[in-house]
């Protein structure tokens, strides 16, 4: 399950709307080993394409150096689909190289405009296998602890 704060979810959706009809992409970093996405980092889509995304290679290096310095990991890697559903494409699956990350897919196909519906889904992609997972949106980081606690 992905647990994410509403403000970060909203920032990802806003980024996807802003860049439509091109794909938007980025990460949400968080403390290593925590599984908590806490630091929203929108990235530039170097491909500037409605059907492809790729982090610029210099930006990618800076991002990973920064995460290293802060002892963070890419907890979430997100991108948008702008004409198709929020499900990993064959290309997404073939190129997924962070087995520990939550791959978030957003679709602006139906609702690029303000207040239009934007699908927001999360997946694990490991060795070419896609597994969808639940997304729990919480209002604050305090609530994250509740959502993560084992059910009594």
């Amino acid at each position: 399950m992905l647990i994410i704060e509403a403000s970060i979810r909203d920032a990802i959706v806003a980024h996807a709307r802003r860049d439509h009809p091109d794909e938007a992409c980025g990460v949400v970093a968080g403390p290593a080993g925590s599984d908590r996405p806490t630091r929203f980092v929108p990235m530039r889509n170097a491909a500037q394409s409605p059907t492809f995304y790729e982090f610029d290679s210099a930006d990618l290096l800076r991002l990973y150096q920064e995460m290293d310095d802060r002892d963070e990991e890419p907890i979430v890697i997100y991108h948008s689909h702008t004409a198709t559903e929020a499900y990993p494409s064959r290309t997404d699956i073939g190129l997924a190289q962070e087995p520990g990350s939550h791959y978030v897919l957003v679709s602006t196909a139906e609702g690029a405009h303000e207040d239009g519906p934007v699908a927001f889904r999360s997946f694990r992609i490991v060795d070419g296998e896609v597994t969808e997972e639940d997304v729990t949106v919480v209002s604050s980081s305090a609530e994250v602890d509740d959502a993560a606690a084992p059910k009594r």
Binding site: T51, E54, F55, S57, L61, Y64, R90, A96, Q97, E98
Partner: protein, 90 residues
């Protein structure tokens, strides 16, 4: 002295979980061969017949080797080499 090679999560299965290994060589190609000698399988993941794989990025002292000569990029003691898989998709 040797050259430090920083290994991404996805390749740490080849390095016994280590985040960085040290190796030697005068060019990136030689360095990768040396890494592969002690961590068999790494090279196959980094290189194909045309050079560095399209969705693998290799940096020598923060410069993407695509712009510095690819596998022929010179390396020397004290350099830092970083390997990062591209973050990309469709």
């Amino acid at each position: 002295m040797a050259i430090e090679v920083r290994v991404p999560t996805i390749l740490r299965t080849y390095t016994g979980g280590e985040k960085a290994v040290t190796a030697q060589g005068g060019t990136l190609a030689q360095l990768i061969d040396d890494v592969d000698a002690s961590n068999p399988g790494v090279k196959e993941r980094l290189v194909d017949e045309s050079g560095i794989r399209r969705f693998i990025n290799v940096y020598v002292n923060d410069e993407d080797v695509r712009f510095t000569g690819g596998l022929e990029t010179a390396v020397s003691d004290g350099d830092t080499v970083v390997i990062l898989p591209a973050v990309a998709g469709g």
